[in-house]
């Protein structure tokens, strides 16, 4: 059993592709890994009633979110033979076209990494107290709802 260690997953603003590259690079020393699965959430510039989403502003109950994330991490590690997993979620403003969620799992054989990554994404969206406010070009807004 892994210990339920609370780690920060939040960062301010969009997730830079260079950060993702850096995270991938760090795994080159782990030569027991055969496959990585990555999910990236990108802010869509949806047009709603004729107005286009320019950005999403994210807020969270950070303490509860990090505790719940520790639980998800523990569950996923005990379900799949993973080498490692990493999760990063934006807070604050993320413009349309930018990355707001980065989920990264690695395992010796591809199936575990792929299944675990999908599981994590579903649980993150359903279980973390995070809210997105869709900001339109004219500065009006509406609250995002997850399907």
């Amino acid at each position: 059993m892994k210990e339920k260690k609370v780690r920060n997953i939040f960062l301010q603003g969009p997730i830079d592709p260079g950060f993702i590259a850096g995270s991938i690079s760090k795994h080159s020393t782990k030569t027991d890994i055969g496959g990585h699965s990555i999910f990236l959430g990108q802010v869509r510039g949806d047009v709603i009633n004729g107005k286009q989403v320019a950005a999403i502003e994210y807020t969270a109950h950070e303490e509860m979110a990090l505790e719940q994330m520790a639980q998800i991490r523990e569950d996923v590690f005990s379900t799949y033979p993973l080498t490692c997993m990493h999760v990063h979620h934006s807070l604050g403003t993320v413009n349309a076209g930018e990355i707001c969620l980065f989920v990264f799992t690695s395992s010796a054989h591809r199936k575990a990494a792929i299944d675990a990554c999908e599981d994590m994404v579903e649980r993150i969206k359903a279980e973390l107290p995070v809210w997105g406010k869709e900001i339109f070009a004219d500065n009006s807004y509406q609250w995002k709802e997850n399907k």
């Binding site: 509860m64 979110a65 979620h89 993150i124 809210w131 997850n146």
Partner: protein, 78 residues
């Protein structure tokens, strides 16, 4: 006697007008909900959960001193 500070999130901040609000001390989460509905009637139309000390409350629960209370509308992260 001190009141309680409540953290408010997501679209509920539009109703409360802020990301936190204060109310008088209450005995339990059911009374809390009644008091909130009186103070912010629009809350009755909204789906939300109450968290007490970072745990989501599913049934009526006593509220101790220095309790951390949060109102959580449906999540929309990711």
């Amino acid at each position: 006697m001190d009141g309680l500070t409540i953290q408010v999130f997501g679209q509920l901040t539009d109703i409360v007008g802020s990301s936190s609000c204060s109310i008088d001390c209450v005995a339990d989460t059911a009374s809390l909900q009644q008091m909130l509905f009186t103070k912010y009637p629009l809350l009755k139309q909204k789906k939300f959960m109450v968290a007490l000390n970072n745990k989501i409350i599913k049934e009526n629960t006593p509220i101790g001193e220095a309790a951390a209370i949060a109102l959580l509308p449906p999540f929309s992260g990711g």
